[in-house]
Symmetry: D2
Subunit: 220 residues, 4 copies
Amino acid sequence: MKPILVVNYKAYPTSHGKTAESIARKAAELSSKYNIRIILAVPATEAYKISRIHPDTYIQSVDPVPEGAHTGHITPEMAEETGAKGILLNHSEKKLLYRDIQKIINRTKLETLVCAETPEEAAAVSLLKPTMIAVEPPELIGTGIPVSKAKPEIITKTVQLVKQYNKETIILTGAGISTPEDAIKAIQLGTQGVLVASTIMKAEDPLRKLEDFAMKMGIS
Amino acid sequence: MKPILVVNYKAYPTSHGKTAESIARKAAELSSKYNIRIILAVPATEAYKISRIHPDTYIQSVDPVPEGAHTGHITPEMAEETGAKGILLNHSEKKLLYRDIQKIINRTKLETLVCAETPEEAAAVSLLKPTMIAVEPPELIGTGIPVSKAKPEIITKTVQLVKQYNKETIILTGAGISTPEDAIKAIQLGTQGVLVASTIMKAEDPLRKLEDFAMKMGIS
Amino acid sequence: MKPILVVNYKAYPTSHGKTAESIARKAAELSSKYNIRIILAVPATEAYKISRIHPDTYIQSVDPVPEGAHTGHITPEMAEETGAKGILLNHSEKKLLYRDIQKIINRTKLETLVCAETPEEAAAVSLLKPTMIAVEPPELIGTGIPVSKAKPEIITKTVQLVKQYNKETIILTGAGISTPEDAIKAIQLGTQGVLVASTIMKAEDPLRKLEDFAMKMGIS
Amino acid sequence: MKPILVVNYKAYPTSHGKTAESIARKAAELSSKYNIRIILAVPATEAYKISRIHPDTYIQSVDPVPEGAHTGHITPEMAEETGAKGILLNHSEKKLLYRDIQKIINRTKLETLVCAETPEEAAAVSLLKPTMIAVEPPELIGTGIPVSKAKPEIITKTVQLVKQYNKETIILTGAGISTPEDAIKAIQLGTQGVLVASTIMKAEDPLRKLEDFAMKMGIS
């Protein structure tokens, strides 16, 4: 299977507006140019626009409320309406209760990528059969210290634990990934790709940085 | 000044997709046909699309986080990017801390409509100088029992208290408004319009119901 | 092993004051009279007093914050200070994030009883090795419809799933248990006891109801 | 009226156990020795014990839930049961919704001390007629940089705004107060005392530090 690069737009100034769209156009181009799957995890307000530019777009989170009298919530049905392909869930900046992750996965037809902070949480989440899991020790997020170098045992333990319970869920590595080499290391440790954010979204030249990742990960 | 009708789309099945767009087209038409301002408060995922159909669109809530490393949040800047004209805040289904309402109002250039559950909360919020305040006793929301009939003293007390602190903020009435007559009663009690939801969004014929409100409120 | 009866005091008027203390005295008496372990899960404010009357007292929840500059939180260390023997965690009225349950279990020397709403959540929680797990479908809590009769398959599936991952954790049944017969049924389905609340705390004669449970469960 | 010194125990290691009790004994002694009112804001688990040593004890927060089926919450009634004299509410480490502060104040017979982060929040809270308000700019909490020196205009603006709406509520100063001189400055700026925490609770000799504050504030 192809390596996977998930770019979490977060709420950076580049997460909406012109740059957000350029990154999406570039992602569309690179996805066919290199042997790699690029997923963009975008804010709810951008999901409609970005998924028209690059169909492999995820919405950054949804709320576990049913359709009905709820103001200011994003339901899974609204996410589907945008044309997004999947939902990012349980990021350490937007944690959800386990039972709510379960409700959302059972309710939506979209793909789901669920984050986990520890190997145990990853194993627990794998019981819910999401499409993908990303293990992200929160203390490394945004630091530029790649988990694949600083704590490789977290990745290998996650792979080992998750495979025990669920052989189908794709496993990704997150937190501190700042170079294509970090991503390649994560793949060598047994995961299928990485979840990145600041390294692209805060780069001086986000498009070039994205191409650098796509090219090197696509060859690996 | 024109009477104001705010339609809160909430998370009803009609809040996204075809019906959501038809309501917006109808609102645009009625706004020029009658002497009334119609504001649509829509889900974050719909704000881009709906504000292109009817420019007087509000996003249903935003989060008080700064731009940066925040996943799954809607910042005021993202709301501005959609083209929305304003933000609905502090609805009883999405309450915010007072200091967060203050932060958002101070930070955004958009209009703000802040809900309040009691006359005291309305007065407190008026100190922050939002564009509008809607008083909505939560025990009447969605009941079809209009606050303007069941508890008119809540409206008159709100008007009296708010005017004491802030003469500019527009005051609206919410909760249980189900007929144009309820809306007219709310205006007679000293507010400038109403905030409705289920009566339109769950109507058998939402467009006809909307026209009924617009026509009768526009004449009043 | 002895059957286990956990009485969750919740925030009923009987959860503090005279009745709270009488129930504790009765629990102490019944625990030595019958072949049963009775655990009382009490409010934080009552933990010091009640654990002096009946040593087998749990505090109803703690917060996952570290010691330090946190106002209005109950840390595991404060719970230990009260003399309580354990902590009830993740009750459907006070859900916690999975990673926070993990942090608390790893940090405290006290026993832990973690609630779960589904067999999958129970299995997920069992990976964290709490002392006990109680499965409680939230839709039955407080209804008087015992899960052991209404949805016995939830109990048997929980037992089967949890045993697969963790053979040591004790499993209890909760939700809707209103008679000793419901409790006996729960034991027959493979769990070691029950978690009850309203049936004792809202009983006309809580002490007699408690003795009824203790006597019949103690024989079973 | 006497100057007021509120010591927020927070969740420091000294907030429970031996030191917590020694501070309470010292506070009782100093309250009669000097012309000062000393209030201790303690964790829920300590309220019963500490209020027996020093009757002028507040519980650090309560939850806005009604009595009944709520697990892991502290109701105002539970707070009353402990013997505490009052409730600290809305500290920046435990913010509450405005409508919940209103519910709690309306429901309890205890004194209430409500924190506010800005002059506007203080004014808003004063409409609810709490016993006291403490203004605490959160960016200074725990810094040792006293608000009375760094931002005296926040205190004077708070006093001016609050007096406009409510002449009876007592106003206190918080955030960064680390010496008796800071406290005296706060009193000179028009408030009746201070809310402190780390300067006592993390002091090498908390009892001596407390006496130093009591003596100098009592004379002022």
